[in-house]
Symmetry: C2
Subunit: 340 residues, 2 copies
């Protein structure tokens, strides 16, 4: 087991100073050709690699960014990480992943912990609890310390920083309009409770579409689901008690669950009921029938977020406080769960 070799050790072996070794390795002209050769050969022989931690301390840059997400099991968040990782890697950055588990406390602890030098910046999507509490002090604090933050997907207006979002209202409006255009009127909505920002926005989009087509909003057709609860029977009730022609679900899980329950109740998809989901994950793709869905490109979001963060990190000099919010295009992916 050969331990890592340091500048000091090389210097001692070759009987020169540490500075000489350092300069030689960086090919400084200050050092004679001869010495440089000698040092470089020796360093190569012993497989010298500069210690990253020491460099970080000196440069006050860790070349590491942290992404904080509520859950990694959700396919969407996994794709975002993938996007972040690739762009980060291309630019010489590493990615630290933190899971908040939808918990405010974990989010706070992680941020405070890492803000003390460990990383150069954050990419994050708010936990449900944080959105509910509307307590963002940990984020403002980090930003005030001069550490850049990029928020994506679950964002808040109360924080000024770079953001990457999709136009949830518009996307939901489109999806609902798509159903209406097929001649469907009794469209149910399966959504989350309002404090989840994207759930609220998608609900708004749904309502907007109905209104602009002069369809009355029937609150009985709107099912708001708490995240923690077992929601199968609510959906079952919804389907049984109403003569529904279509369902718009604000996430994949709701969509596929609705599909399964509809099946169970003897309804044919899409003949009896059309279904549109949100977030183009593998469930929608491989479900039978496959589910028409609003696709939000996680890889793209992650990539853009990483790019924004890195851009800000590398131009820190010009201190441009112009925060940008970038809107990623969504796409309606038509599959088997909606009629032609």
């Amino acid at each position: 087991m050969k331990r890592k070799v340091t500048l000091k050790q090389i210097a001692k072996e070759l009987d020169v100073s540490i500075s000489t070794v350092s300069k030689s390795l960086r090919n400084s002209l200050e050092i004679s050709e001869d010495t440089r050769q000698k040092v470089q050969a020796f360093a190569k022989l012993y497989n010298y690699k500069p210690n990253n931690i020491a460099l970080s301390l000196k440069n006050k840059k860790t070349k590491t960014i942290c992404i904080i997400i509520p859950e990694i099991i959700h396919h969407f968040f996994a794709t975002v990480i993938s996007g972040v990782e690739h762009v980060a890697n291309e630019n010489g950055y590493n990615v630290l992943v933190c899971l908040s588990d939808e918990s405010f406390d974990k989010e706070v602890i992680n941020m405070e912990m890492l803000a003390s030098g460990s990383i150069d910046g954050f990419i994050m999507s708010l936990s449900k609890e944080t959105q509910q509490k509307k307590d963002f002090h940990h984020i403002t604090e980090v930003i005030n310390q001069g550490m850049p933050v990029v928020m994506f997907d679950r964002v808040t207006n109360e924080i000024l920083c770079d953001k990457i979002i999709i136009d949830d209202v518009h996307a939901a409006h489109n999806a609902t309009q798509f159903l209406i255009d097929k001649g469907l009127k009794k469209i149910a909505l399966i959504t989350t409770v309002d404090y989840v920002s994207v759930g609220k926005l998608r609900t708004d989009g749904y309502k907007k579409a109905l209104k602009s087509n002069d369809i009355d909003i029937n609150e009985n057709l709107i099912l708001k689901i708490e995240d923690t609860e077992d929601f199968d029977h609510y959906i079952e009730e919804l389907l049984q008690n109403n003569d529904i022609e279509a369902i718009f679900a604000v996430n994949e899980l709701f969509a596929v669950t609705a599909l399964k329950i509809a099946n169970k109740l003897g309804k044919n998809i899409p003949e009896d009921i059309s279904i549109i989901g949100f977030t183009d994950g593998i469930i929608s793709k491989y479900s039978t029938p496959s589910i028409t869905t609003v696709s939000q490109n996680g890889i793209k979001m992650g990539g853009k977020a990483a790019k924004m963060l890195i851009d800000r990190l590398e131009s820190e000099d010009e201190e441009e406080e112009q925060y940008k919010t970038e809107v990623i295009e969504t796409e309606l992916v038509e599959r088997e769960s909606t009629k032609n």
Copy 2:
């Protein structure tokens, strides 16, 4: 924007030495009650947090572990990360995620990069390319430097280190036996090419089960799929040209694809064909019909891997070169794609 405060600054403000500040904050009895109070109050006021990088440099510990996986989009790997992250967090460690994209080079570059001080240890699952090349020098090198490595799932016998695996042969044997016990004999296998370690092992298990039940192995019923290719038509051929009663697929994607194609060909699942998959992901769960599957608990694997790594990190003193291989139990989760 108030920058981070350091010991030096506090020392200067209070007109004491850096040592005094440091000791006061650590509540050393060397320092008078008075001074301690004063320093602590000041530190709290200015929200002092020790710089992690400086600590890392001093302690030669980063409290960060790295997990290298081929892909994060695969649900199984995402669950592993989840397991790793939770255990790591409980023990005060952070998790750096690297994606090899199944590429040997990326794996090598990432490892070499991070081995220079950035992290304390690795958890990894080999990329396909690495398994194919059988070149593991980057891993032995890291281990020789004294950095612990824990391998999981896709491992190799050529490296001596801690490992977390499932008994792929046994699990595949069980699954196949399960089908046989239902009275099914014409059992097709959809697997990967042999250099993927787990694919090979699962194939072995399948064959073993057939043999022990005196069923001839029909190579026409064994489909080996290259990862990169578009494999739908191969499966279609397999199903068309043979009178198949059951399918055992070595991963979820193969299983659900087979299911969809069987459906397309007018076969009923499970009446005409029973299907068992491997890896209990969301696809199997939400597919219609849902797919019976061999469940490998990724969260558990990740958690165990993290535990093993951290244990080794924290007992480095006693230098026990006893490498362990832990086998995680699999479970056959019965769903709708197999007959009762």
